[in-house]
Amino acid sequence: MAEQYPILVLLVLLFGALLVGLAGMADRRICFPVTVTALALALAVSLGILQRVINEGVIRYFVAGWSRPVGIGIELRIDTINALVLLTITTVGLLAAVFSFRRVKEDKTEKTPLFYILYLLLIMGLSGMVITGDAFNLYVLLEVSSLTSYALIAMGKSRRAAVAAFSYIIMGTIGASFYLLGVGYLYLRTGTLNMVEIHQAITGLEGVSSAIVVAFVMIIVGLMIKMAFFPLFGWLPNAYSYCPSSTSCVVAPLMTKVGVYVMVRMMLTVFGTEWVFENLQYSQWMVGMAVIAILAGSVMALAQVELKKMFCYIIVAEVGYMVGGAWLANHWGMVGTVYHIMSDAFMTLCMFLAAGIFLKQAGVVRIDQLDGMFRKMPLTMAGFVVGALAMIGIPPTCGFFSKLYLIRGGMESGHWGYVVALLISSLVNAVLFFRIFEIAYFGKKPVEGHGHHADHSERSVIKEARLSALVPLLTTAVIIILLGIFNQDLVDLIERSLKGAEVIGSAVLSGEGGLG
């Protein structure tokens, strides 16, 4: 049983979706229980996978048993990094699914089964992308996750959701085709699609092959679109803020993070850190762009009046953190990036859950409508505050530790611009969130005169959120703190994959010496 875990995590989600499709169309009441059960099973299996990876090392699962020669079939390959990201995906999926309990009923009653089918297939696609060891299989699952997310975003009520989904489709398709072209070039030069085999073929080539450089550029640019890295983020803010809350809670925390994960996987396993950092001298450029991404994302977040839009621009800045961290070309930068993939997923989840609750209970769209929320919704605000403190980077939340590692990486490799950008971005986050706290705690500033009291009676009916919304939010808050408290254990796990594996045949990341 245990050796089948990698495939089981996808199968429970796939069969959950099929069951919703076949039985849920007739009886809508079973959709939610089936979805939550499937996700809970997937979460349990991914815990089992993590357990196995910790005990036994890298898991290699050959689908259909085609193991010799490597590459004729498809290999699923799980080390501690993907096990952790997989666990993040299934946990976020489960929490956001619980949150969707009431919302979907109210958003589009008749389409509940369709929503849950797409939802389960989205989580399946993302999980599949994370566990695969095959560059083309990753593309197929990228299609699964992209198509489902387009549809989920387009299901929003307003027309703007459809327009946002359309521009997301165009951008996302360009990104996916770039990735596919890159994989094509790789196949042309290496004759295999298996990630480890590609790596061996690349290291076996003499000199720098221009086809492989082009493949690398195409893959990274394609992924930059998918993860909304700075100049290519245009599709993100509208897509994530106009879609239904139940959708944004799963899409916003996961899609960009999985894009970053794929980039990390490409750098570590497929091309290899030696090749990426020593043959190509792109590090300076990429970190420079990350600095611009961080600063631009933060400045644009400052300019927003809508809550969800503000979170979207924070995501843009956070993607900058992670891309910059990965390209710092040293140990702590990479550790910080992987750790931040996890912590940012939960922080973003926390933000969007809170935004969903505010929208539902109080109709809050703009930041200044949040006045008095501490009094009206104390529990929701408690969860929100934890997430906000993590975004700012205050110990013991996970946001503090990921920034700590990233800054350490930046200092060790001498990228001071990156360090400064991180600190400025944290300051901006502090300004953003303390502004919200101020409004929510003290109410609006009395600049507007007497108008403030007029709508007071109408506002006071706002009640605390329902249990199905509070439980995920508070669980997320607890996870954010737990990730912070157990940061050392997580870092140990991440380091295990950076050090041990034969595929990272590089001294660059093994902790002994950076590029300096």
Binding site: Q4, I7, L11, L14, F15, L18, G21, L22, M25, Y61, F62, V63, A64, G65, W66, P69, G71, I72, G73, I74, E110, K111, L114, F115, I117, L118, L121, G128, F136, N137, V140, L141, E143, V144, L147, T148, Y150, A151, L152, A154, M155, A162, L181, Y185, Y187, L188, R189, T190, G191, T192, A201, S209, S210, A211, I212, V213, V214, A215, V217, M218
Partner: protein, 253 residues
């Protein structure tokens, strides 16, 4: 903005062309893709492994069957996505909507009607042939499924959407689409239950007495192709029906 787009396209094209030097020669037998142990294995061992003369089918449905399963899921998602976005589901309770069906249904062309009447059975028969003959010639579940789906669409074009939906109502095509993926993944799960890895068809020979592992692979490939054809044909029709009627599934073009 147009200029930015042009520059981006030219730059990307230039980038792709810049690697041309590094390509293996056209038709080079020793190019990495041809000389790799993977290609060698497919060429030498396909017949031995599964007895399927069409190597492409063997790669698609057996060696890399996992990819193909998810491609089938992608097709399913495409249909579900169209339904999720377009389908108008809140019917007015009790009250029949004024439907344009009679106006459209009445004056269909006799030439088109007769041609389609002759064409559709042949099309469907050919679709089944393409599905079943994928082992030996170009074809398989995707191609056959598209032809089968096209025959339903032709019915809808010739006779109107409503008669076509009477033959293949929404409930049925949704079930068919899901059944296809159930068939495909069902083959995989059977292998799991018999103690082998997912989609390792060879083990299925214990279910059918008198065949060996290679034959089991060959038959299972046909089975999953049938599953693919279910999904593809149903989704083709679903997409047409939703697009043609703006999601109301009435009247049509």
């Amino acid at each position: 903005m147009k200029w930015v787009g042009l520059i981006a396209v030219l730059f990307t094209g230039g980038l792709l062309l810049s690697a041309m030097d590094d390509f293996p020669k056209w038709g080079d037998a020793h190019s990495p893709a041809n000389a790799s142990p993977v290609s060698q294995y497919y060429i030498e061992k396909t017949i031995e492994d599964s007895g399927v003369p069409n190597m492409v089918t063997a790669v698609l449905a057996d060696y890399r069957g996992y990819d193909t399963m998810f491609e089938t899921v992608v097709v399913l998602i495409a249909g579900i996505a169209i339904m999720a976005i377009l389908r108008v589901m809140n019917q007015i309770p009790g009250g029949a909507r004024p439907s344009p069906r009679h106006e459209i249904g009445d004056h269909h062309d006799i030439i088109i009607g007769t041609t389609c009447r002759l064409l559709i059975p042949v099309l469907q028969l050919f679709a089944l042939y393409v599905i079943a003959h994928g082992h030996h010639s170009p074809g398989g579940g995707f191609q056959g499924g598209v032809i089968l789906g096209a025959s339903f669409i032709l019915t809808a074009i010739a006779q109107g959407l409503d008669p076509a939906l009477e033959r293949l109502p929404e409930k049925s095509y949704v079930k068919l689409a899901f059944a296809g993926v159930v068939i495909y993944s069902g083959f995989g799960v059977m292998c799991l239950l018999l103690g082998e890895n997912f989609l390792d068809y060879g083990v299925l020979h214990v279910l059918l007495p008198g065949i060996d592992a290679a034959e089991a692979r060959s038959h299972s490939m046909l089975g999953v192709e049938v599953g693919v054809a279910f999904t593809v044909s149903a989704i083709m029709f679903a997409i047409y029906a939703n697009l043609a009627s703006k999601g109301e599934l009435e009247g049509g073009l």
